[in-house]
C-alpha cells in the first residue's frame, strides 16, 4: 500500500528558541490509524496542526516537508498556495479538536455549522446539502437528526457535541482525519462510545486517521501504527503490536509504568473500622432551583439524593462518577460550603473519642476549628494559585488567617511542608508561573497541609496532569496520608486512579450512589450495570483486551435503560441494599 501522507524531517520553533518539534518523520497509509503519543509539551499537537497549516502565528516551520498523495498527484502542504490549502482543509483532510465545548460556535445552529463544509467544498444546493448532513448525523448516532440540525451546541452534552464535531469532519468524506485528543475531555463511558464510532466510520469509508493522544489505553484500542514523542522528538515508532507489546525505548516503558490501571490481581484493602468515623454524611440531598431566563418557570434540579457516606479515620473513601453525577456537590456539602436540603446532616469528629459535630450548625469557634481541620485540594493547579502571590505568601496565608505562630514559625512550617511534598524550600520566593503543573499541584497540597488538617477533600487532584506526573502525585498523597494520619474524601471520574488509593469506593450516577464496596470487591465482582460499564470502558494498553462496547452500552445509558432489576426513572430509585457484607448495590430485590 502506498502512503497517503508523508511527514519528513518536520522542524518547528518559536522565535529564536530551540525547536519544539525536531526532525519528526512518519507516514500514514490509506485506511490506517496512526497514533501520535506523548505528554503535554511533546509537540504532538503542533505536528498535526502543521499538516493543515493552522499553526499559531508566531510558530515558524524551520524545515522538512509534508506531502499529501492524491490520485491526481502529490502536494507539498507546507508550500502550496493558501487557496489550494483551503481546498484541502475540511475536504480532503479534516480535523476534530479536544474540547467539543469550545470548538463549536455557540451562536450558530449545528446544521449551519456542519452544512458549511459542504457549502464551501461541494456546492450542492440547499436540499442536497441538508440531506447529506442529516444522513451524516444519523451515522454518528443522533436519534433525531432533524432536531440536531436545529440545535445549538450548548443544548447538548459533551459527548453529543463531539459527535457533531465528528459529523462535521466526516461530511465531506475526507481521506484523512486528524483527531487531536478527541476524547480527553469526555467521561470514560462516552470516550469508549466515541472511539467506537470513529473506528466504525473508518471501516465504512476507508479513511486514514491520525490520532493524537496521551493515553496508551486509547492507542491500544485504535491504532495500527504508533509514534511516541517526547520534547519534540520521535522516541520510538512502529506498528502497534511491537511498540505496545515490547516497548524498546526507555521513555515508552516509563509511560507504560505510569499508566493508571485497574490491577490484575485483587489487592486486599486495609480493614475498615466502621466505628471510628471522621466524616459522616447522613441522608444528604441537594436540590438547586435554576432560574431559566427572564420569562420561564424556574426548574428544580436534584444534584444528589439521599447520599450516605462515611469516611473512616486514616482511610480513603473515593467517590467516582461522571460529570453531573453529583460527586462535587457532595464534597461541597461535606466541607460546609453548601447546606444540604432539610433532613440531611454532616457530622465531623476531629479525634477518635470526640463527640461528632454537625458541620452545618457549628458555633463560630467550632467552625473556625473545622475550617482548619478539613482542607481541600482542587482539580486545576493552574487556577487555584494566585499568579500575583509569591509561593511564600500563598503558603503562609492560611496560617495568618488562623493566627498560628509568628512569622518565623510560619516560614519554617511552609519550608517544612515544601520538603514534605518533595519541593525545595528555596522555591518560596518564586511565583507560581515558574512551576510545572505537577509542581503546582504539590504546592497546593503543601498549602493544604500547613494547617495540620485531619481530613483532606481531594476534588479530581490528578485529572489536569500528565500520566507520569499523575502517578507521582498519587504516590505523594499515599505517603502523606500515612505520615500525617490524614483521612481522604477523594473525588474522581477515573476508576483506575481510584483503584490505587481507595479503601472504599462509592460509584455515583444521576445524583445517587449505585454501588459501594471496597475496591477488591467492586473491581472484581461488580454487580451494577453502570459499574460494569465504567470498568469495561477503561481503555487498557493491551491489544488483547479491547473495550467491550456492548457492555459499556448496556450500563452507560440513562437509568431508565438499565435491566429491570436496576431500572429507575426520575426520583423513585430503588433502595441501596447490602448484598454481601460491605457491598451495597442499588437494586430491586
Amino acid at each position: 500500500m502506498t502512503s497517503l501522507l508523508d511527514v519528513d524531517g518536520l522542524t518547528i520553533g518559536f522565535g529564536t528558541a530551540l525547536p519544539v518539534v525536531n526532525n519528526v518523520s512518519f507516514s500514514v497509509r490509506a485506511g490506517e490509524t496512526l497514533a501520535l503519543v506523548g505528554e503535554s509539551g511533546s509537540g504532538k499537537t503542533l505536528t498535526c496542526r502543521a499538516v493543515l497549516r493552522i499553526l499559531p502565528e508566531t510558530a515558524q516551520v524551520r524545515g522538512g516537508g509534508i506531502t499529501f498523495h492524491q490520485p491526481d498527484g502529490a502536494t507539498n502542504l507546507l508550500t502550496c498556495s493558501s487557496r489550494h490549502m483551503r481546498r484541502i482543509r475540511g475536504n480532503r483532510i479534516a480535523m476534530i479538536f479536544q474540547e467539543p465545548m469550545r470548538s463549536l460556535s455557540p451562536l450558530h445552529r449545528l446544521g449551519n455549522q456542519v452544512g458549511e463544509v459542504l457549502r464551501i467544498h461541494r456546492n450542492l444546493g440547499r436540499a442536497e446539502t441538508k440531506r447529506r448532513v442529516l444522513a451524516q448525523f444519523e451515522k454518528v448516532g443522533f436519534a433525531d437528526p432533524e432536531r440536531a440540525w436545529r440545535s445549538y451546541p450548548f443544548e447538548m452534552s459533551g459527548g453529543m457535541r463531539q459527535r457533531a464535531m465528528i459529523a462535521m469532519a466526516m461530511v465531506a468524506e475526507p481521506e484523512l482525519l486528524i483527531a487531536d485528543e478527541p476524547t480527553t475531555a469526555l467521561d470514560v463511558t462516552t470516550q469508549a462510545q466515541v472511539l467506537g464510532l470513529i473506528r466504525r466510520l473508518q471501516k465504512d469509508t476507508g479513511m486514514a486517521v491520525i490520532l493524537v493522544t496521551h493515553d496508551l489505553g486509547v492507542v491500544a484500542n485504535m491504532a495500527q501504527q504508533v509514534v511516541v514523542m517526547n520534547k519534540g522528538r520521535v522516541m520510538e515508532s512502529g506498528c502497534a503490536s511491537d511498540v505496545l507489546g515490547a516497548p524498546a525505548h526507555g521513555y515508552t516503558k516509563k509511560l507504560f509504568a505510569a499508566a493508571p490501571m485497574i490491577p490484575e490481581v485483587a489487592q486486599p484493602a486495609r480493614a475498615l473500622d466502621h466505628r471510628d468515623i471522621i466524616l459522616d454524611l447522613r441522608s444528604v440531598s441537594k436540590t438547586y432551583t435554576m432560574r431559566a431566563g427572564g420569562w420561564r418557570k424556574p426548574v428544580q434540579i436534584a444534584a444528589c439524593r439521599d447520599v450516605n457516606l462515611q469516611v473512616v479515620r486514616g482511610k480513603t473513601l473515593a467517590v467516582v462518577g461522571e460529570s453531573g453525577s453529583g460527586k462535587t456537590t457532595c464534597a461541597r456539602i461535606a466541607l460546609g460550603a453548601e447546606r444540604p436540603d432539610p433532613g440531611g446532616q454532616v457530622l465531623f469528629a476531629p479525634d477518635k473519642d470526640d463527640a461528632p459535630l454537625p458541620v452545618h450548625d457549628m458555633t463560630r469557634v467550632q467552625r473556625t476549628a473545622f475550617q482548619r481541620q478539613a482542607q481541600m485540594v482542587f482539580q486545576d493547579p493552574y487556577s487555584s494559585l494566585s499568579p500575583r502571590m509569591r509561593v511564600q505568601s500563598a503558603m503562609i496565608e492560611p496560617m495568618q488567617i488562623h493566627n498560628i505562630g509568628n512569622r518565623a514559625e510560619q516560614l519554617e512550617k511552609a519550608a517544612e511542608m515544601l520538603r514534605w511534598v518533595g519541593l525545595d524550600p528555596d522555591m518560596l520566593r518564586r511565583y507560581p508561573h515558574a512551576f510545572s503543573g505537577g509542581q503546582r499541584q504539590r504546592l497546593s497540597i503543601a498549602r493544604a497541609l500547613t494547617l495540620d488538617p485531619r481530613l483532606l477533600i481531594c476534588d479530581e487532584p490528578t485529572s489536569a496532569l500528565d500520566v507520569s506526573v499523575q502517578d507521582q502525585i498519587l504516590t505523594l498523597l499515599e505517603d502523606i496520608r500515612d505520615r500525617a494520619a490524614l483521612s481522604y474524601l477523594f473525588i474522581s471520574h477515573d476508576l483506575a486512579v481510584v483503584a490505587r488509593i481507595a479503601d472504599e469506593v462509592a460509584v455515583m450516577r444521576a445524583g445517587v450512589i449505585v454501588e459501594q464496596a471496597p475496591p477488591e470487591t467492586l473491581f472484581y465482582n461488580p454487580r451494577h450495570p453502570y459499574t460494569c460499564a465504567l470498568i469495561a470502558a477503561q481503555p487498557e494498553p493491551d491489544l488483547a483486551r479491547p473495550i467491550d462496547l456492548a457492555l459499556v452500552a448496556k450500563g452507560a445509558g440513562s437509568p431508565a435503560s438499565w435491566p429491570d432489576q436496576f431500572r429507575f426513572e426520575g426520583a423513585d430509585a430503588p433502595m441501596l441494599r447490602e448484598l454481601d457484607p460491605g457491598h451495597l448495590v442499588r437494586c430491586h430485590v
Binding site: F97, R102, S105
Partner: protein, 342 residues
C-alpha cells in the same frame, strides 16, 4: 412568540423603572432648601416690589408649591389633581419654567427633537466608524494598520470636544463653506418641514455629529478590537479554519458575531453619555439642544424645567437599554435559551 412576550415584559419593567426614576429626580431637585419662587419672593420683599410678590404668590398656588412635597410629586406626575385638575407629565403638561416665564413644553419643544436627532446621528457615526476600524485593527493586529487605527483612536479620545468643534468650524467654513452654528439656516426656523429645510439640517449636522461622536467612536473601536482579539484565539475559530473557510468570510461569520454582543449592549450607555457630554459642544456650536437648557435650569433652581430635562435623559437611557436588551436576545441564542454554559 416568546420574544414578543419578553418584549412586552421588558417594556413594563422599563415603565416601572421610569416611575422610580421620577421619584428620585423629584427628590433630588427638591433637596436644596427653598425653591425658585420662594427665593424670588424673598428677594422681591427685600427690594420692596409688592406687585411682583403678588404674581409670585399666585404662581406658588397655581403650581402647588405651597403643598407638602409628596403631594407636589403626585401633581407633577399627574397621579393627583392639582389646582387645575389632572395636569401632569402623563397628561402632557410638563410644567412652567419660572426662569424663562414660559411653559416648559414650549421652551423645550423643538430642542427635544433636535437633541434626539443630533445624538442619533452621533451614535450612528460611532457605529459606522468604529465597526470597520475595530475589526480591521484586530484582524491586522500588531501591524502598521493596527497602529495607525490605534493612533487615530487615541487622538480622538484625547482631543477636547469643544476644541475640535472650534477647529472644524474654522476650517470647515474656510474650505468647504460649511455653515457656522445652529442646526439649520435662520430663515427655516419655525417653518414647516420641507425638502430644503431637511437639506439645511443635514449640512448643519455634519460638524456636530463628528465632534460629539469622535471620542465615543475611538473608545468603541478599542473595545471592539480587544473583544475581537479575544475571540480570534478561541478554538471555534480554529475549527472554522480547519474547514477551509476563506479568511474574510470566517472573520465576519464567527468572531465578529461574538464580539458584537458588547457592541450592542453599549447602545444604552452611549445615549446618556452623549447627551451630557454634548452640553459644552452645544454651547460652543450654538446648537438648540436641551443640554444648555438643563445647565441653566439647574443653576437657577428652575425645578420643573430641570426635572423635565432629567426625566427626558432618563427616558432616552431606558429606551436605549431596552433596545439593546431586545437586540441581544435576538442575536444570541444563549441568552434566548437562558443557558449558563458555553
Amino acid at each position: 412568540m416568546t420574544f414578543l412576550k419578553y418584549a412586552v415584559y421588558r417594556f413594563f419593567t422599563m415603565l416601572l423603572t421610569l416611575w422610580v426614576v421620577s421619584i428620585l429626580v423629584f427628590t433630588i431637585i427638591n433637596l436644596p432648601p427653598g425653591d425658585y419662587l420662594s427665593n424670588q419672593i424673598a428677594e422681591l420683599r427685600a427690594t420692596g416690589q409688592a406687585e411682583g410678590v403678588a404674581k409670585a404668590e399666585f404662581l406658588r398656588t397655581e403650581y402647588a408649591l405651597d403643598r407638602p412635597i409628596w403631594e407636589q410629586y403626585l401633581i407633577w406626575v399627574g397621579f393627583a389633581p392639582g389646582p387645575n385638575g389632572f395636569s401632569g407629565l402623563i397628561q402632557g403638561d410638563f410644567g412652567w419654567s419660572f426662569e424663562f416665564d414660559q411653559p416648559v413644553g414650549e421652551i423645550v419643544g423643538d430642542a427635544l427633537w433636535l437633541t434626539v436627532l443630533v445624538n442619533l446621528a452621533a451614535v450612528l457615526f460611532v457605529y459606522v466608524v468604529a465597526l470597520p476600524l475595530g475589526v480591521l485593527a484586530a484582524a491586522k493586529a500588531e501591524t502598521w494598520t493596527d497602529y495607525t487605527a490605534g493612533f487615530a483612536g487615541y487622538l480622538g479620545l484625547a482631543t477636547p470636544n469643544f476644541l475640535l468643534a472650534l477647529i472644524l468650524f474654522y476650517y470647515g467654513h474656510k474650505y468647504f463653506d460649511i455653515p457656522i452654528g445652529g442646526l439649520m439656516d435662520a430663515n427655516f426656523e419655525g417653518e414647516p418641514l420641507s425638502w430644503a429645510k431637511v437639506k439645511s439640517i443635514a449640512i448643519h449636522l455634519i460638524v456636530p455629529t463628528f465632534v460629539i461622536g469622535t471620542s465615543g467612536a475611538a473608545a468603541m473601536m478599542q473595545r471592539l478590537r480587544a473583544n475581537m482579539l479575544d475571540e480570534l484565539s478561541k478554538p471555534y475559530v480554529e475549527t472554522a479554519r480547519a474547514k477551509g473557510l476563506a479568511p474574510a468570510r470566517l472573520l465576519a461569520k464567527y468572531p465578529l458575531r461574538m464580539a458584537f454582543n458588547p457592541f450592542v449592549a453599549d447602545i444604552g450607555n452611549l445615549l446618556p453619555a452623549m447627551v451630557s457630554g454634548s452640553v459644552l459642544v452645544s454651547v460652543v456650536l450654538a446648537l438648540p439642544t436641551i443640554g444648555p437648557a438643563l445647565l441653566a435650569a439647574l443653576k437657577s433652581q428652575d425645578q420643573f424645567l430641570a426635572a423635565f430635562v432629567l426625566m427626558f435623559v432618563a427616558l432616552l437611557t431606558l429606551v436605549g437599554t431596552m433596545i439593546s436588551d431586545l437586540l441581544l436576545v435576538l442575536l444570541d441564542p444563549r441568552i434566548r435559551y437562558g443557558s449558563r454554559d458555553a
